[in-house]
């Protein structure tokens, strides 16, 4: 009869192999102060924009400069995170361990109007994916604003602002946790 080592011995061997590859393990990219600062600046600028445009019911056409300023900045931030860890992955972010059994791509397609663009699956590690999500979220906010026409951004419309801010906070929460060495 073949005898296999007990599971804990396999765990010990695994630990030793990991240890041989280096004395400490790093699974996600280190804290990046550029990401924290840019995301914080965007949070404040976006909040100010939605308050002032909400007050005046400004249309997309009247406010293109704001989108032209931030879209390249967010794209650059994503590129920076992908370049920092090109082969990085964020495990289980397609189905989230079965929480979204049909997969995120399918869910997004279902929530996309026919003929609309569906996001491709995000690439890179968790930080890069969070920044890609923020970039896409802001691009959709611009489309939302444009689709509102003369309604603009009414002050009572909380959802569009909150949905973008949710994606910014996700980036900030992870960066700050990294900074604090949680």
């Amino acid at each position: 009869m073949i005898r296999y080592p007990r599971p804990e011995r396999w765990l010990l061997v695994l630990m030793l192999l990991v240890a041989l590859a280096g004395c400490s393990v790093s699974l996600i990219q280190p804290y990046d102060d550029v990401i924290e600062k840019t995301a914080s600046d965007f949070y404040e600028d976006f909040l100010r924009f939605t308050i002032s445009v909400g007050r005046t019911r400004g249309t997309y056409a009247d406010n293109r400069a704001f989108y032209d300023k931030w879209q390249p900045k967010l794209t650059t931030l994503t590129a920076r995170a992908v370049a920092a860890n090109p082969s990085g992955r964020c495990p289980s972010t397609e189905t989230y361990g079965g929480l979204m059994p049909q997969g995120v791509t399918t869910a997004r397609a279902a929530a996309t109007p026919s003929g609309g663009r569906v996001d491709v699956a995000p690439v890179g590690d968790c930080t890069a994916q969070l920044l890609q999500l923020l970039e896409d979220q802001f691009a959709d906010f611009a489309k939302f604003h444009e689709a509102q026409g003369t309604l603009g951004l009414p002050p009572e419309a909380r959802a569009p602002r909150e949905l973008v801010l949710t994606s910014v906070r996700a980036v900030l929460y992870v960066e700050l946790a990294r900074k604090q060495g949680k």
Binding site: R6, E8, R9, L11, L12, M15, L16, V18, A19, L20, C23, S24, V25, S26, L27, I28, C90, P91, S92, T93, Y96, L99, V104, A107, R108, A111, T112, P113, G116, C126, L130, L133, L134, D136, Q137, D140, K143, F144, A147, Q148, G149, L151, P154, E156, A157, R158, A159, P160, E162, L163, V164, T166, S167, R169, A170, V171, Y173, V174, A177, K182
Partner: protein
């Protein structure tokens, strides 16, 4: 000195348990409040479409639904990242916990 696998396992398990205590705190302090805020946006979209006059157009509401999927993905990705940080911390704590015993046993600085 021979290595005692059971003692090492006990040391490693304790280090892992201490590290993973933070995961639940992160879920409680970050994930659940964010999901609660997200739930509020569903109510707002329904109100915006049924208000007289509506403050969302049909086309803009479609975009909002897509943004809700993405916001949910952001929250879950951040939760995954926070969990990975704890996995990383646990691995490093486990290595640190057994470093002395292993190095003494092999008589050189293996770990």
């Amino acid at each position: 000195m021979a290595l005692d696998a059971d003692a090492l396992l006990s040391t490693m398990s304790q280090a892992a348990a201490n590290a993973f205590g933070q995961v639940w705190k992160d879920v409680k302090n970050y994930t659940i409040p964010e999901l609660r805020k997200l739930a509020g946006t569903f109510v707002d979209i329904e109100l915006g479409l049924s208000a007289k006059p509506p403050y969302y157009t049909k086309e803009s509401a479609d975009i909002l639904f897509r943004m809700q999927v993405r916001a949910t993905q952001s929250i879950l990705t951040a939760t995954t990242a926070l969990t990975m940080m704890q996995v990383e911390k646990a691995l490093n704590q486990i290595l640190a916990a057994v470093r002395l015993a292993i190095n003494e046993a092999v008589k050189f600085a293996l770990v």
